[in-house]
Symmetry: C2
Subunit: 167 residues, 2 copies
């Protein structure tokens, strides 16, 4: 065992309609209407008690199809190279993804989700509740994201898959 | 190598005033005024470019002093046993913590932080920007957290370390 490594194990797997990274919405904010499931492995299902009380949850997952880490990346919504930690780009030193999805219902080992931006087969590492008083921040500065035109971003971010109301 | 495991490596370490878990604020929301630092290891510092534009960041970290995983836990703010995935309790199948902290400034390899609820020496796994349009949700239901008295929660959650304005 290499002492330098932290070892984690998948607790479940994502089932979604997304099989092509190039056609997958880049964030839950651009995936409204994309339904999917988080299947939790049976040995962990007792830990799902009370989760159905929350309207939104975090899914922490392995970006299992990410390429090698790069310190500078061109974000999907930008044409400028940015430091990878200032982006949600998958080519990170530790390929861990974070999505806040809507929890529609819990049925046995299956969490029914909306806003799914994860590829089918994505290994799940952790589930946490989204709690308004802990997680709903008022950021004063959104860095390079402040420079992005939201209409264009939405068009690109949804991959044209999702028809918006105003289209 | 056990194929079942996902292997990650620390990209840095937290420096904070918190050395006793029993005296550490339980969330950044209860740690206003708790300053600290995220030191990023030199091989990753190029990835910090542009991060200073963001007022808030996620820190994903190893809960390195968590006990063994339990499926039912008594949350710090509650007296009822809850499913571990409906809580932020450290005794999780994968002991990964998530904190949203205020980024005061970036100076070389050091991120200067406020709202630090992490123990001194905590290994850092990832840093991501908090982006309003992706991360600021309007949850309609906050589960068992809706039942918690906020005044008592704040008193307990801050561990009495932090004087509130109204005290």
């Amino acid at each position: 065992m290499n002492e330098k490594y932290l070892k984690f194990k998948p607790i479940g797997v994502i089932h979604s309609e997304h099989t092509d990274p190039a056609m997958t919405p880049i964030q839950p904010a651009y995936a409204h209407g994309c339904r999917g499931y988080a299947e939790i492995f049976p040995q962990y299902t007792a830990g799902l008690k009370d989760l159905d009380g929350f309207s939104h949850i975090y899914i922490i997952y392995h970006l299992h199809r990410a390429g090698p880490a790069r310190m500078l990346v061109k974000p999907f919504l930008d044409d400028v190279e940015r430091g990878v930690f200032s982006t949600r780009h998958p080519a990170r030193p530790n390929p861990i993804g974070l999505s806040i999805v809507e929890l529609i219902k819990v049925k046995g080992v299956m969490l029914h989700l909306d806003g799914v931006d994860m590829l089918d087969g994505t290994p799940i590492i952790d589930i946490k509740p989204y709690v308004k008083k802990f997680d709903r921040m008022d950021p004063t500065r959104d860095g390079w994201q402040d420079l992005i035109d939201e209409t264009k971003a939405r068009k690109k971010g949804t991959r044209g898959l999702i028809k918006e109301n105003n289209e």
